[in-house]
């Protein structure tokens, strides 16, 4: 009888209910922390959003979609986050593909491209305000070269926030996509080359299908980052106008109006809007190739 043996023995058959393995308990502290400080606050926030200070159960959500200053933040956020994510992922794909081959400068170049990750929003904001400012180096250089004499309007508006989203988001997308590209077995494109595929066709028919899952993942993670844009929208944008993003609305409701119920509702709407894009991206992914990225012999 296997049930009475003290040592775990490999079973030949598949038992309907495997015996409880105490090692599974190793996952318990992590799960407990997540339940206590992620699931519980989330559920609490969801409930709180249905308990407005006055009015019916859905009053907060009705208020959100009836107040122009609130519902337009969804559009504002999408208009910033979607172009920024597309630019970052497309740019990162092109540049990671160009720098995929190990060379003497590959490591230096990839390090240089990743460094902006560490700059922090404030340094980027300060740098952009100084560099793109009316008396900054860019304006001076353009004037000196007689290329453009007018004033440069790249800060305190939509473009300022978009540029800062690209500077912070691109290195992240690049790092991720580079690791996916180098994970593809180089024997596959080489096989394609022997069959007569040129550079573009190798990319189009070998790399791109294999990269699709990674690209979707990079898109989702980049989008999450861009969607929660908050400090740069305040420091580099016009927080009252075109860059009044949904995170600002949620923050104002919570810490300026002290209406935690409304703030939770805004946070839930933010999560839903963001999740809708992620689910759409994952749904598109399932239409493409899924499978191993290594050759037949693994």
């Amino acid at each position: 009888m296997a049930a009475t043996t003290a040592m775990p023995v490999p079973r030949s058959g598949i038992s309907p209910r495997p015996p409880f393995d105490p090692a599974v308990m190793l996952v318990a502290p992590a799960a407990a922390l997540m339940v206590m400080f992620f699931v519980y606050p989330f559920a609490y926030g969801l409930l709180l959003s249905f308990q407005p200070a006055q009015g019916g159960v859905f009053q907060n959500y009705i208020h959100f979609f009836q107040t122009q200053d609130l519902w337009r933040t969804i559009g504002n956020t999408m208009q910033l986050a979607l172009p920024a994510t597309f630019i970052n992922v497309a740019g990162a794909l092109a540049i990671a593909y160009a720098t995929r081959i190990k060379g003497p400068y590959q490591r230096l170049l990839s390090t240089l491209l990743v460094v902006p990750l560490t700059l922090g929003t404030v340094l980027i904001a300060e740098g952009m305000l100084t560099y793109f400012g009316p008396q900054g180096w860019l304006a001076q250089a353009l004037r000196w070269l007689h290329v453009y004499e007018g004033s440069i309007r790249l800060t305190h508006n939509y473009w300022g926030v978009l540029i800062s989203l690209i500077i912070t988001g691109f290195p992240f997308a690049y790092l991720l996509i580079l690791s996916y590209i180098t994970g593809i077995d180089p024997a596959l494109p080489r096989a394609a080359a022997t069959l007569g595929a040129d550079g573009w066709n190798r990319f189009r028919h070998i790399y791109l299908p294999l990269l699709t899952p990674g690209l979707v993942m990079a898109f989702c993670l980049s989008f999450v980052q861009a969607f929660s844009v908050f400090p740069s929208a305040v420091l580099l944008g016009s927080p009252g106008g075109t860059t009044r993003v949904i995170a600002i609305a949620a923050y104002e409701a919570a810490f300026e109006q002290y209406d935690y119920s409304l703030a939770s509702a805004v946070a839930m709407i933010m999560g839903l809007a963001q999740l809708a894009i992620v689910v759409a991206a994952l749904g598109l992914r399932s239409m493409f190739y899924r499978g191993p990225v290594t050759g037949g012999k693994g």
């Binding site: 495997p18 393995d21 090692a23 599974v24 190793l26 996952v27 502290p29 992590a30 799960a31 922390l33 997540m34 400080f37 519980y40 606050p41 926030g45 740019g91 092109a94 160009a98 491209l113 990743v114 990750l117 560490t118 700059l119 922090g120 404030v122 340094l123 300060e126 740098g127 100084t130 008396q135 180096w137 001076q140 500077i167 991720l176 580079l178 690791s179 996916y180 994970g183 593809i184 077995d185 180089p186 024997a187 080359a193 040129d198 550079g199 999450v224 969607f227 908050f230 400090p231 949620a250 919570a254 935690y260 703030a263 939770s264 946070a267 933010m270 999560g271 963001q274 992620v278 990225v293």
Partner: protein
């Protein structure tokens, strides 16, 4: 038949390559100039409308250090960051081991639970989390800030560590079992040494991410528990009261710290091996 199949359309290939390298150069030059502008301003006495400032001084670094109570902020940052790294590894590595090796009911649900915090923007769960923490009187305290920062850090450790565990041969664990090691002994004497590179990688990446984590710290920190990134934001937000050079000096200090850690991280972790690892086939003549 020719084997030089690259030459179907050399002009198009060359134009494309020039475009890509042009974009790389444009990006690096502009970001570099931006950093240089901040660096120049942080050592400038007065800089208005000229190529370079009139004179240079290191006084802004000294005044930033005093004005923003940087020594206190740095102590808080170090305590928060290292606690987050240590606790996330302590809890995350065993969890990653279980998720990589064991099969149990509810595993899919658990995986989703660990993936969600990375997929939801920090503000979305940060606001309800801050509300709960204010009720528990955790907001504004060091433990509160540490816990809040662990919510994205712990799933990140699990996500990075699971593939590392999967590539360790199960026979090594069986051998330890045969020699009578219990789970704890097997963990300490066989798995931890084998996992050390992965643990180091995950720890350094969590460290870099936590130093830069703005939203969650911003939402739950009090005046005494601000980390560097939050203190920096408040310094700019209250601009006008403070000299711009002083803020720039502080931003440079922040950058120096994070760049240092990133370079250390990249020294140990090859970014190209983060997600999957494939042995490189030698190109045969």
């Amino acid at each position: 038949m020719s084997t030089h199949t690259d030459n179907h359309n050399p002009l198009r290939d060359r134009a494309w390559r020039a475009l890509v390298w042009g974009v790389i150069a444009f990006f690096l030059v502009n970001v570099g100039m931006m950093i240089l502008a901040v660096a120049t301003n942080s050592v400038a006495t007065r800089w208005l409308g000229t190529w370079l400032p009139e004179a240079y001084t290191t006084g802004w670094y000294l005044s930033a250090w005093k004005e923003f109570q940087l020594s206190h902020v740095l102590v808080v940052t170090v305590v928060v960051v290292f606690s987050v790294v240590f606790l996330s590894l302590l809890i995350g590595v065993p969890a990653a081991y279980t998720l990589a090796r064991k099969d149990f009911r509810g595993k899919k649900l658990l995986t989703l639970l660990f993936l969600l915090p990375l997929m939801v923007p920090p503000i979305t769960y940060g606001i309800p989390l801050a509300t709960v923490m204010y009720q528990l009187h955790l907001a504004g305290t060091l433990p509160g800030v540490i816990i809040a920062n662990m919510i994205p850090a712990l799933p990140f450790v699990i996500l990075v560590m699971t593939p590392f565990v999967e590539q360790i041969d199960t026979n090594i664990e069986s051998a330890a079992r045969v020699f009578g090691a219990n789970t704890r002994q097997m963990f300490i004497y066989t798995l931890v040494p084998l996992l050390a590179p992965g643990v180091l990688a995950a720890g350094l990446l969590v460290l870099v991410r936590t130093v830069a984590m703005f939203e969650l710290t911003f939402l739950v920190a009090g005046p005494d528990t601000q980390t560097l990134v939050v203190a920096l934001y408040y310094a700019v937000f209250a601009a006008g009261v403070r000299a711009g050079q002083s803020v720039d000096a502080m931003a440079m200090i922040y950058m120096a710290i994070t760049v240092l850690w990133l370079l250390i991280a990249l020294r140990f972790v090859n970014p190209t091996q983060l997600v999957s690892r494939v042995k490189e086939h030698p190109v045969k003549g």
